[in-house]
Subunit: 146 residues, 2 copies
DNA sequence: GCAATACCCTACTTAGTTTGTAGGTTTTAT
DNA sequence: ATAAAACCTACAAACTAAGTAGGGTATTGC
């Protein structure tokens, strides 16, 4: 299951994507609009900034804004950042790999092979979907849900 | 990520599948063979029993045994039982469905649709793989790993 | 300049889940 | 009867997620 942190991140990102023409957006504006604790959201936006997804401007008139195009921000990147590994086992994780303690040979381990399949099937979706697939079209207004 | 409980369940099930001809197997035998705390494993086996996967025999000479053929026990069933929902969001879960608070219409929610895809891709694997895909062939001995 | 603004940073608290432990009860074979 | 083994309830410890607190620091508008 995706953590609240991850969901909040997607909420904030979609909000920012829809406000791209307005320049920097206040944390407070996103927080109250999406019903997220201001301080909690602050941490999330900071993480997204450190990951190179968001930029920020300090001082009066400051705020956060996207520094990438929505179609360049994959769901996989956001999920890995806020939620952690996508794989079900450390030994099949591409970004958080850890060797199995009780396994001699990954090439012949049945569980390993099956979990690789699960990972690849999942990645086939989330590596190819981006923020642009989440944002609502102006002409086709709808509520984002998750 | 799969919990230890889930991994332990798979370890125990593979052990039992490989011991099918020997009748009831002691908790202690599985626990020490797979390096699992006896008492913790006890709870897991009990859950598997209540789910109709295992049978048991009390008293002297008792133990646990499979009451289904390995090829009838899907990974999905075990994962749902010990690990919880397979879906990434409650609103796309087939077995643990919950409505989203902040969503009016699932049919038009972009996130909902994408998460359905992830779920279906995952299920395509784990609903079609069974315990028989995990057990080692007698002629092709290998170590199970996860 | 300077005060207001708003991001930045560290640490802490609270709540919930996972993992594991303890001890007793019931059932069965011998 | 007795020993063996599953069954059951409750609790404890460890870990993680979620949220809070308070100040520090850079920038901007006036």
């Amino acid at each position: 299951m995706l953590s609240k942190k991850t969901k909040y991140a997607f909420h904030a990102l979609t909000y920012l994507a829809e406000s791209q023409d307005k320049g920097a957006v206040l944390i407070q504006e996103i927080a109250s609009s999406k019903n997220i604790s201001h301080k909690f959201l602050e941490n999330i936006l900071l993480e997204l900034k450190k990951a190179g997804i968001l930029g920020s401007k300090k001082g009066k008139g400051g705020g956060y804004y996207l520094i990438k195009k929505p179609e360049e921000i994959t769901l996989a990147k956001v999920i890995r950042l806020l939620n952690g590994p996508i794989a079900w086992l450390p030994c099949v994780s591409l970004n958080y790999y850890e060797k199995c303690a009780d396994c001699a040979d990954e090439a012949t381990c049945n569980m390993h092979l099956i979990m690789c399949q699960v990972r690849d099937q999942t990645l086939a979706v989330v590596e190819n979907k981006t923020l642009s697939d989440l944002i609502t079209k102006a002409t086709d207004k709808q509520v984002l849900k998750y």
